[in-house]
Point group: C2
Chain length 264, copies 2
Amino acid sequence: MMYSLEAGGKRLRPILVLTAAEAVNSDSLARSQAMPVASAIEMIHTYSLIHDDLPAMDNDDYRRGKLTNHKVYGEAMAILAGDGLLTHAFYAITRTVALGTSPETALAIVSDLARLAGAPGMVGGQAADILGEQGVTSLAELEYIHLHKTSDLIVFSVLAGARIGGATQQQLESLQQFARKLGLAFQIQDDILDLIGDEAKLGKPVQSDVQQQKVTYPFLLGMEKSVALVERLTEESKQALADAKLAKPEYLLAIADYLMNRDH
Amino acid sequence: MMYSLEAGGKRLRPILVLTAAEAVNSDSLARSQAMPVASAIEMIHTYSLIHDDLPAMDNDDYRRGKLTNHKVYGEAMAILAGDGLLTHAFYAITRTVALGTSPETALAIVSDLARLAGAPGMVGGQAADILGEQGVTSLAELEYIHLHKTSDLIVFSVLAGARIGGATQQQLESLQQFARKLGLAFQIQDDILDLIGDEAKLGKPVQSDVQQQKVTYPFLLGMEKSVALVERLTEESKQALADAKLAKPEYLLAIADYLMNRDH
């Protein structure tokens, strides 16, 4: 569990949790209350990578420039490390109550995570991806996969931070739009970087999607339209962010810009 | 997910949740409030069986008289079905609030489940079992594996039902002892049935532990002492149950007796 948690990565999802908490409530207490939830979402993301990398799934040997979990510990322990991280994420969420979050809010975060990381969310997106590997032909199918495989955890991160910050229902709805579009832009950018990125910066081989004959946005739309779509989604996500009328939106805005312009 | 949930089984853990709720609070409302948690623990138990049966783990083709999940849907989908069930269990727990359970109690149940099903609990027991497969030589090691692989979910079931029924702290402690000893007796009985049980009643081949060279209680202690230990643990668990001074302990008592005398 620690091997994969400590393997690095951008920590985008925990940063979004902390930044969303601060954006809603600039009191620094909100940020520290959000810390267990920031840890929780990184555990979920890490478990999903460990299971995705298994021979029965994507069969990847490297992740973030290091050997994948099952290459080091064997498949059985990698499955269990994933199960353990997934389960412990829910424990981490309960710890936010000791820092002053209400049980109602903590339970709403448990419910969001179970939905957005589970069969109606990330696990469902992953299942659609596997079932569709030979047959994804439409943009609608690909969007479904990306929205659930990637956007749902981004949505969770922003909503959870905002809940801890004390967001109103209207703010939660605008932030959900923000995160949904940001997550989709993020995943399309991933598809683009797999084609034209720098292997050293990415920490994994490029053109792996092409080799695995994966259907991606650039494959379906072409590179130019894919780049334009990332720009459009980023603009729309910024508009939703403005609609949320947050106390301190600057860092969330900066993250949206960073993700659009990133090279890894 | 549904294929394995509907494959049958004793439903021991959900029955314990419902029975514990009713034992603490004979008002029938407690029992119906406990229903989402009863579903949750069966999802957890089922996910653990799906992952345990995988080729990288126990590599079993049959479970409850039916083909195992990965034999029907493939390994990738079986891993995801397990992940989906594990995640959805936490969603189910949050639903008990809509039936009148307080958010504090629901969150305590989330915390219990994350601990008892996770790395400090069932997942840890499973990892110890896999790591120890070549080297378990002492009763202490075997007890650790059984307590975490099996007892921890039994403990969860009884505690969760009792929490929904409104148990006092003293009752929770006595019930934890009851469930811990009952779970250990249950697992030793499983070891015994694997040696002398009836294949048709068990729904799986007997003597699989011997064939897989698994270290069991009968292997370490002999059959006679193992049978005596099941009896002693059952008596001790009944004593702990009496200490809990419950409104309606009869059904929990009956379950303890049934488990000691079962033939499958």
